[in-house]
């Protein structure tokens, strides 16, 4: 079973040379730490930055320089600032190659719910609805089951949706899955996890074809 860092490490393998990538808050943010240094990858922050760098050194925080999670950050050579209209313009125009974000639920048709729990204080969708509606490639980083042990990979989301038919791939503590016309297609098992365990944890339609390899992360 993977921990959060493990999920981030596995997702980092999906990042290709030359990609512009948007990372959501939570596990997706950790992905940045595992992108191989020899890849040329540029991070987009939807508040208005291309070329997000690491956190600043202590004492060098700049209040005018934050990411979409409102964290202090730095720039890198070749960075560019722009306004939020252009930022979501480039997102809508599918210039961002890969979007990685968290989810509360995903359906086997690729619907995603990650912004609202009825009865709880709703903080808002931020840029998530724009990102999922437009991204050409969305990977979801999430736990396979919730704290009550219930599957978060469902035939139909029970929570209010963020977007429909948009998720392409899911990486959980148990597995890597693609969303296909036939449902979730199991691609890889987490180290030590059996296909049976994944079947039991997946409530949505699951397609298991042939031998399912154990994922390689290092």
């Amino acid at each position: 079973m993977l921990d959060k860092e493990g999920i981030a490490k596995r997702i980092a393998k999906e990042v290709k040379n030359g990609y512009y990538v948007n990372l959501g808050i939570g596990i997706p943010t950790l992905v940045a730490n595992y992108i191989p240094k020899d890849l040329d990858v540029i991070l987009q922050s939807e508040n208005g930055l291309l070329g997000m760098g690491p956190f600043p050194f202590e004492g060098e925080e700049d209040p005018d320089l934050i990411n979409a999670g409102k964290q202090t950050i730095t720039t890198l050579p070749g960075s560019a600032f722009f306004d939020s209209a252009m930022s979501f313009g480039m997102i809508r125009a599918r210039k961002v190659d890969l979007t990685i974000l968290g989810a509360m639920e995903v359906s086997d048709t690729g619907d995603i719910a990650n912004w609202k729990i009825p009865g709880k204080m709703v903080k808002g969708m931020g840029g998530a609805m724009d990102l999922v509606a437009s991204a050409k490639n969305i990977i979801v980083a999430m736990q396979h089951v919730n704290k009550a042990g219930e599957s978060k990979l469902l035939p139909k989301c029970t929570l209010p949706l963020t977007g429909v038919k948009c998720v392409k791939k899911i990486v959980t503590e148990l597995a890597v899955l693609d969303v296909t016309d036939k449902g979730f297609r199991l691609l890889e098992r987490a180290p030590g996890i059996s296909v049976e365990q994944i079947k039991n944890a997946t409530k949505g339609k699951l397609v298991v074809e042939g031998e399912i390899p154990e994922m390689k992360i290092d």
Binding site: N47, E61, D64, S84, G124, G126, M129
Partner: protein
Amino acid sequence: MNKTVPGPEDAIKDIKDGMTLMLGGFGLCGIPENCITALVKKGVKGLTCISNNAGVDDFGIGLMLKQRQVKKMISSYVGENAEFERQLLSGELEVELIPQGTLATRCLASGYGMPAIFTPAGVGTEVAEGKEVRNFNGKEYLLEYAFDADFAIVKAWKGDTHGNLIYKETARNFNPMMAMGGKITIAEVEHLVPAGELDPDHIHTPGIYVHRIFQGKNYEKRIEQRTVRKK
């Protein structure tokens, strides 16, 4: 074309109860601190505020919320503050949550004289309820309308007496679109310079969009999430 006013009190003097304001900033970054302080002091009430966020309990729009000056927030992400939550749950405060890109583009539409725009954000979700859906090339989009704000209040890094503005780093965020989108636009700047000192190629918001400008004071520029690494 001197648009300079002495300070925030003069800039906001004709903002009245019940008006709709656009307020620039993302989180606490690039917010019009001086004007917010002046609005709190003035005590104008029943405002509809279009702003990506709603500040925190003791800073930004949170200060206006504490005084119950806000009737309605139109934002993409709120709830960094407890008073906001209390007013919302008690029904004192109305909130319209809209996707961040939709918010930005509806401001842009106002500033570019476009009555409405199409965006796929929110299709198939509760955001789409009651909205027109239209299919272009096999993809569905929502029709979203331009905003109609009485005032836009923005913060820039530098500005000149003609109202030309330059923003700094990610403090740009919503400020340029809001500057364009208000019927009357007020800009507060950290550095006010005479016309001619800004490079015309570097200006983000041309002065035609700005009606009043003043040199702001005592910027706190509070950091919401101080994240650092060790040397």
